[in-house]
């Protein structure tokens, strides 16, 4: 699902820093389960749709 949000917009919605969003996008940081659920809620997707099963590679 395409959203026209900047990293700052998403950071605001997730209540995290912009740098955390950047790290999540680049797959440099694996979020906790609560943050993963929050991400799924924000994008109206399931966790499985956001994070691939392959270890260390989320999108």
């Amino acid at each position: 699902m395409e959203k026209k949000w900047s990293q700052s917009d998403l950071a605001e919605r997730l209540d995290v820093s912009r740098q955390t969003v950047n790290s999540l996008e680049r797959g440099k940081y694996d979020p906790s389960l609560p943050l993963a659920f929050k991400l799924a809620r924000v994008f109206q997707l399931t966790i499985e749709e956001i994070f691939s099963e392959e270890k260390g590679s989320n999108r």
């Binding site: 995290v16 740098q19 440099k28 940081y29």
Partner: protein, 132 residues
Amino acid sequence: MSERIRKANRRYKVEMIVSMLLYMGVLVAAKLAVRDVEGDIMRVILALAPVAPLALAGIAFFRFYLSMDERDQRVSADAAALSLFIGILTALTLGLLRAFEVFSLEDEMMWFGPYLIIVWGVMRFLLGGREC
């Protein structure tokens, strides 16, 4: 950055500046006052007085730490673990140099705390916590 984190950052900066100003003020006042003071108890009180504003700074930092998001907390904790390791190595190195009578920095131990804070800041920067 969310509004909550922005507010926490602002509050932390204000509290740190106030604590540091208090620290400098108390330190200067204690150094001036100790010249005219006699008695061990008063000297101990004056010597330890600057610790109080530093304790305030510590409380401010811990509150700031709790307000960070999970990734920033992780970076800060990793940086603290590395700083502890570097601090132990530094203390061991200085202890050995003193034991072998190369040189002694015993009189400069009051700078060990600021040294550790700087090491922690550098580690935090290197581990990716540049924003905070």
